[in-house]
């Protein structure tokens, strides 16, 4: 374990920029988003988590799967090559845990090379979250504002320096880019204290113990139809959720179809048309069934298949839901039943 003085941080970033496409939180007028930085100055670490997800960097909002072109009565394919070596700086634990969940889905056979190549070509440097907001509930999932699992390198602000945890070989490489010192016993003690303090800053909690069992028992409970009355199926929760991975595949082509692209784009099970088939048969036409699907997929089905709940408590759904449909509150209400 190491430390780096804050006064050396800017140089560290500048050095990184020489070898990688560095992406960090950049302050837009009213919020921060992960963007490629053009100077170390651009990075703004004073944020909770970004509304625009780093998920977008691995499973883009719109992604060309392949381009097709008719040439001499044959179809040619062009699959976009993913070569850029990127480094993400300042990622929060909630978003990293979410990425680990997506890893499980996309590395299952058959592997999704679009996602996996991007993962392979990206180094992720995390930063402990100093200012969780009232909507964060990450501690309900066994993680906290300074959980370093899954990162290549993880930084915790301990005053005039950052405490640095090296977790992978990729992370070890990064040490060469800055003035890192071995950490002292005092540094380590301070880091532990701060980590505890940060955990206590999270005041929204969801009791997730044995939630799958609880949910199984109440599939037909009228609670769901009552809850879903206020949902407006806007699908904002899915679009902002770092663990949501549903996508649609659409072809866009020239007028005569002889050249074009097959694109995949984010989609949401909350939209009415999501499961609509030909001849208008729609198993989830009822809003209640769609709202239920969100909860059951994240807290029951995904857990059964992959052994972990598909939520990391990042709080975005709760922060932005137009009707205040709160996942943690629903989980707590389900537990009481």
């Amino acid at each position: 374990m190491y430390t780096i003085d804050k006064k050396h941080f800017k140089k560290f970033v500048e050095n990184l920029m020489n070898s990688y496409a560095v992406m960090g939180p950049v302050k837009n007028v009213s919020f921060s988003s992960f963007e490629k930085i053009s100077s170390a100055q651009d990075i703004d670490l004073d944020f909770c988590n970004t509304p625009i997800l780093i998920k977008d960097l691995f499973l883009p909002r719109n992604e060309v799967i392949f381009k097709f072109k008719e040439k001499n009565k044959l179809l040619e394919f062009e699959i976009p090559a993913e070569k850029e070596k990127r480094l993400l700086l300042g990622v929060r634990p909630c978003d990293m845990q979410a990425l680990l969940l997506l890893d499980k889905v996309y590395s299952e056979n058959p592997e999704d090379e679009y996602f996996l190549t991007k993962r392979k070509n990206t180094i992720i440097v995390g930063m402990a979250c100093l200012n969780p907001d009232p909507y964060c509930f990450c501690t309900s999932f066994g993680i906290g504002p300074s959980t370093s699992t899954g990162f290549d390198l993880f930084l915790t602000d301990i005053g005039d320096k950052y405490f640095v945890e090296v977790l992978t070989d990729k992370g070890k490489e990064i040490l060469n880019f800055g003035l890192f010192k071995k950490s002292t016993k005092d540094d380590e003690k301070l880091k532990l204290e701060i980590s505890e303090k940060l955990k206590n800053k999270i005041t929204k909690t969801a009791n997730t113990k044995d939630i799958e069992k609880k949910l199984e028992k109440m599939f037909n409970d009228p609670y769901w139809s009552e809850l879903s009355q206020k949902c407006v199926s806007c699908s904002l929760c899915s679009f902002l959720c770092p663990t949501c991975y549903c996508f649609d595949v659409v072809d866009e082509s020239s007028l005569f179809g002889n050249y074009g692209e097959r694109i995949r784009c984010w989609d949401s099970c909350q939209r009415k048309e999501f499961q609509r088939m030909a001849l208008d048969h729609n198993p989830r036409a009822e809003k209640t069934n769609r709202v239920k699907q969100r909860f059951y997929h994240k807290f029951d089905y995904f857990a059964k298949k992959y052994g972990v709940l598909a939520c990391t408590g990042c709080g975005r759904c709760l922060r932005h839901c137009p009707v205040d449909l709160s996942i943690p509150d629903v989980i707590n209400e389900v537990q009481k039943k």
């Binding site: 299952e108 592997e111 549903c246 082509s253 059951y296």
Partner: protein, 271 residues
């Protein structure tokens, strides 16, 4: 890594018009062969329009593959315009296929409705090609009207098979039809299976499947001896896009073939 999203080309060898809105395409891959099982499906591409999942209607030992396509949307409409020599683009085979091992030595009741017959045909022909491995076959099939019945010729050939019973029905009779009139599940009343050693395999509109399952349960069929294929809207076909799920099961990888005792566990599935 082989990219599972990129289709491969095949060439159409024969186009057979089955009914006014169903066409059977016979084709072979431009390179290589597909190892598939009865009950699996292919994702068929029409570039610029999209993809559609279509069950394989041919049997693995056949030289060429066959798909029966019903015209219900934009992709299938384009597929209906194909002729001999045209290219067809496919991905697959996907899905779990029928549990043939479970059916060895058993009698099998096939219950098909409308466009549900093609995937059953794949299994029926497989069984007829390996006749001694399977017991009595009952083929119960129906469609809305006589002209909507697919594989008419083949049904008559099956009828002549050893230890095979074929019963047909239509929802609405027309002049000249002397056969049974009524919904497909009613055909169950015409047969006397030995339930202890019989499995039922059902394919067709979901509502027909549900009524058939209910009738079979009433007859005393155990839940694990009732097998059917389910459909959901699909996009990737490989369990990544999250669309075709019924509870925790994905129709594209855990299905499309399910046994009733298995899918019953998904509370989202209700008879």
């Amino acid at each position: 890594m082989k990219n599972p999203y990129v289709p491969q080309p095949a060439t159409i060898k024969e186009v057979k018009k089955e009914t006014s809105d169903v066409v059977t395409l016979k084709f072979s891959l431009d390179s290589g062969n597909l190892n598939y099982k009865p009950g699996q499906f292919l994702e068929v591409s029409v570039f610029g329009v999209g993809e559609a999942p279509i069950s394989i209607a041919s049997t693995p030992n056949q030289k060429e593959m066959e798909l029966s396509v019903k015209k219900v949307g934009s992709v299938t409409s384009e597929l209906h315009k194909l002729s001999v020599g045209d290219k067809i683009w496919i991905r697959g085979p996907y899905g779990n296929g029928f549990p043939i091992e479970k059916l060895r030595g058993k009698d099998v009741i096939f219950v098909g409705g409308g466009i549900g017959l093609p995937p059953l045909r794949s299994l029926i022909n497989y069984m007829l090609n390996n006749r001694k491995d399977f017991g009595k076959l009952y083929i119960l099939y129906g469609a809305r009207t006589p002209v909507d019945l697919v594989f008419r010729d083949e049904l008559e050939v099956w009828r002549t098979g050893k230890n095979v019973e074929v019963h047909l029905t239509v929802d609405k009779a027309v002049e000249g039809w002397t056969g049974h009139v009524g919904v497909v599940p009613n055909l169950l009343k015409k047969i006397k299976p030995d339930i202890k050693k019989t499995y039922a395999v059902i394919c067709g509109p979901e509502i027909m499947i549900k009524f058939t399952v209910k009738a079979l349960l009433e007859m005393g069929f155990p839940e694990n001896q009732i097998i059917f294929t389910l459909e959901r809207m699909m996009k990737c076909g490989i369990g990544k896009c999250g669309r075709c799920n019924i509870g925790s099961k994905y129709v594209c990888i855990d299905g499309p073939v399910f046994s009733y005792d298995e899918i019953k566990k998904e509370q989202e599935f209700r008879l």
